[in-house]
Amino acid sequence: MSLREQTGARLNLEGISVNFGGVAALSNIHLEVFDGQVTGLIGPNGAGKTTMFNVISGLQKPDRGSVALGDKNVTRFGPARRARLGLARTFQRLELFGSLSSRENVEVALETKHGGGDLTAEGLLHRVGVTSDPDRQVSTLPTGEARLVELARALAINPKLICLDEPCSGLDDSETRLLGELLRELASEGRGVLIVEHDMDLVLRICDRIYVLDFGEIIAVGTPEEIRNDPVVQSAYLGTVAPEESAER
């Protein structure tokens, strides 16, 4: 029986460990992301969230453990092969094609063999909420807008699983709310969504399941309600958010 048949997960990390020199960046991580769900990954700075994204997307080889996308073990696959299996990601520090315009950034992805069929660059940019001129060079865009272009580019390969690394940084409140709605919409289309984000309001509102990472280890997993009330998580990360206060929101 394949991993997907066993767990039904779109993404399955089994016992992932990564060491940098003598420092353990990730220790024995187990994580699942399901189709149709938004999964959150939270934790303080330096907890290992971006390293985990790099392991998932193939930019970082794990020292131990395995990565499965659907029913395929992709641990030895490079990033391009994983993308062709339906994995897309964005980056915490923007990785846009800076010499190109917003439209061209999305078109480059649309023009790949696995690019999104009848989708258009304009349509995708509009969907994620980019309001600037699509022919403007992306390196001249404000950070928030540039993040949305990166999201549109990721969607252009029509991914089954999309991993977003701090997509709300640089966005104002209303933009963040709209992005949250978009992520729920993506999940309702049957995609798996994995999001790293520091905006706890957003994470607690839109996620079906949340993993909390601290010092390279998963310290808690559960629904937003479970995470909000978890004393370990509160002391490690949510310390400032009182349970009652959060529940009112």
Binding site: N54, L59, A80, E95, L96, V108, E111, S139
Partner: protein, 638 residues
């Protein structure tokens, strides 16, 4: 057994020098993040300075060593840190690479201007007449001193980097300069120290290796390239590991001497000499291939410079037509003494266009484009038996494209600096193994190549040929711009901007890399056919490594992402040697110096001199410049 021991001793001595020079290279790289292509040139320049003080002016050895190692070397290090490094903080590999290539050409050109190349010079070794005999092998004191210094350098640096605060800071500075400054150490001072130690070891290697050139005498190019051989040892140490670098130097020195010593007796001295020259280059190439695949990293650095506007097809054709008319007028009015150089400048411009595609769009540095130029001319020479036919041009394009793809094939895993080194090794291998090999090209070195022409229009006259070459340049330029506007062109730019994002969208960089190398090599081959057609011949001198570096730098100076950069770069590379030929002996290095100084001035302007805003605002040429929106850069020709 005695023979074996003799070659072992010679190998250890050569290995010791390679180890010293490679160690210097590694120290600079680990502390500054910059691979110093000028390392060999620093060694050469310091060896010549030492010769000047010691042999010419008769100053005592200790004083000469003191002045060179503790006077000249710190000044050079300070110059590099103050003039270049300030502007290169956070710069791409391509930019820092160009700047050190520029420094190399300044030092080579400077040495040629200071020390007349027609004068024979030699430097005696230390106590070379005193010898000892170990296992029946006679060893002179200079050889012993060399090995002892190498061991002291290796041990001393290991202790320094592990035990001393400044040594530990040097190891940390590349990883995180900001964090280092928070800990109370100055990244700038640490970087200065890195340059000083690197240059110190380069100078030491230069002074120790110079006495071995007693037959040929001190030679600027030879001495620079001898030290370049040490690159292979540094690569074996993966530019980080000092013990492996030292071992790499020894392996290189020993294997080079065993190979030379145990060559079959029947091969000619010329061939043996060529194998000796080829050996370190092949070693470097193999060492590069043994490197593990470069890991893709998300660099989080977005291109901020506004790229030059890409004209559409109509604009390209219109500008190309204007350009051809101008060249036709130039051909009519220009003096016959200069027309040949202008034509060759346009041909080099075609080679420059291949660099626009390769470096400007795709971000791959090739230091062997003139090698492809030579191969193109060679194919034409063979196919057309010293004449020129269109069939020959097609074959030249195909062969150059195939060789380009073959060069790219083993280097598909390499990026940035390592790729540049691999192309440098290929250029040197082709030079020693092919262009100067009398089995392929008769002694005297020149290959006869005719001039292409269009039926009914003769190009035998220099004026007609200039216009013909201008037409081919314009067609190639239209083609390059068409590539840039195409889907593939966009992909190349995307790959250049962010290889990590490129891969995470599911695109294959390897195929794009191989195709762009092949296309660029084919274009350079066309340039070669045109270049050789002007004097009706091409020689090994036209395709040597330093000339390849000059064309890369000139195109970068004038704008590596623009057609005008290719044109002006090509013209500069052809016209400056013409100017220097009218100067006394000291003018011989003027081309290299101009390229080096130009690139250092441009260190803060990655898009070259033409697209900088001031030029845009003040030097609009009516009819040539494309109408631009504010702050955009111009593309003069097409």
């Amino acid at each position: 057994m005695e023979t074996f021991l003799t070659y072992t001793v010679l190998g250890i001595v050569a290995g010791a020098i390679y180890a010293i020079t490679a160690t210097g290279l590694v120290v600079t790289y680990t502390t500054t993040g910059v691979f110093n292509f000028a390392h060999g040139a620093v060694a050469m320049f310091c060896a010549f300075s030492y010769w000047q003080l010691n042999q010419q002016w008769g100053w005592p050895v200790w004083l000469c060593l003191l002045i060179v190692l503790f006077g000249e070397v710190p000044l050079l290090a300070l110059y590099v840190e103050e003039v270049y490094m300030k502007r290169l903080f956070g710069a791409s590999v391509v930019r820092s690479l160009m700047v050190t290539l520029g420094l190399l050409l300044i030092l080579v050109g400077g040495a040629q201007a200071l020390w007349n190349g027609t004068v024979q010079r030699s430097l005696p070794g230390y106590f070379s007449n005193d010898t000892v005999t170990i296992f029946q092998v006679v060893i002179n004191y200079h050889q012993i001193i060399t090995v002892v210094i190498a061991v002291l350098v290796a041990v001393g640096l290991r202790v320094y980097f592990r035990r001393f605060r400044s040594g530990i800071a040097m190891r940390a500075v590349v990883d995180d300069p900001e964090l280092l400054s928070l800990s109370g150490s100055s990244p700038r001072n640490t970087s200065r120290l890195g340059w000083f130690i690197g240059f110190f070891l380069a100078a030491l290697a230069g002074i120790l290796i110079a006495p071995q050139l007693s037959v040929s005498g001190l030679d600027v190019n030879l001495l620079t390239l001898l030290v370049v051989n040490g690159y292979a040892a540094a690569i074996l140490g993966r530019l980080r590991n000092l013990p492996w670098t030292f071992a790499g130097g020894m392996i290189l020195g020993l294997s080079e001497n065993y190979a030379a010593g145990y060559l079959p007796g029947h091969i000619s001295a010329n061939l043996a000499n060529q194998i000796g020259l080829l050996f370190p280059v092949v070693f470097l190439f193999v060492a590069l291939l043994l490197l593990p695949s470069a890991r893709l990293r998300a660099i989080g650095r977005m291109v901020v410079a506004v790229p030059p506007k890409i004209p559409n097809l109509v604009q390209s054709v219109r500008s190309a037509a204007v350009f051809i008319v101008i060249m036709w007028i130039v051909a009519m009015v220009i003096s016959s003494s200069i027309i040949g150089s202008v034509t060759q400048g346009l041909a080099l411009g075609v080679v420059g266009l291949s660099l626009v595609l390769l470096i400007g769009y795709a971000g791959y540095v090739s230091l062997c484009q003139l090698t492809f130029m030579g191969i193109g001319a060679y194919v034409m020479s063979q196919v057309a038996h010293g004449g020129a036919t269109w069939w020959g041009l097609i074959l030249a394009v195909v062969v150059c494209g195939a060789v380009g793809a073959l060069v790219a094939l083993p280097t598909l895993r390499l990026q940035g600096l390592y790729l540049a080194l691999a192309t440098l090794a290929f250029a040197q291998a082709a030079y020693y193994g092919f262009f100067t090999n009398i089995s392929y090209i008769p002694e005297g070195g020149a290959m006869a190549v005719g001039r292409l022409s269009i039926p009914g229009i003769s190009t035998s006259g220099d004026k007609a040929y200039l216009v013909f070459v201008a037409v081919i340049f314009a067609l190639c330029a239209i083609g390059i711009l068409a590539i840039r506007r195409s889907r593939w062109g966009r992909k190349l730019v995307a790959l250049n901007d962010s290889p990590a994002a490129f891969a995470t969208l599911g695109m294959n960089a390897a195929i794009s890399k191989m195709i762009v190398f092949a296309v660029a090599a084919a274009i350079a081959g066309v340039g070669g056919v045109l270049y050789a057609g002007q004097p009706l011949a091409i020689s090994a001198n036209d395709v040597q490594m330093f000339a390849s570096l000059e064309i890369v730098l000139f195109v970068t100076i004038f704008g590596i992402r623009t057609i005008s950069g290719a044109l002006l770069g090509g013209l500069a590379a052809a016209l400056l040697p013409l100017a220097s030929s009218h100067l006394p002996w000291w003018g011989v290095g003027i081309t290299g110096i101009a390229a080096g100084v130009g690139i250092s001035l441009m260190a803060a302007h990655p898009d070259g001199v033409v697209p900088i805003p001031w030029i845009n605002e003040h030097l609009r040429i009516p009819g040539l410049a494309i109408p631009l929106r504010k702050k955009e850069s111009i593309d003069v020709v097409a």
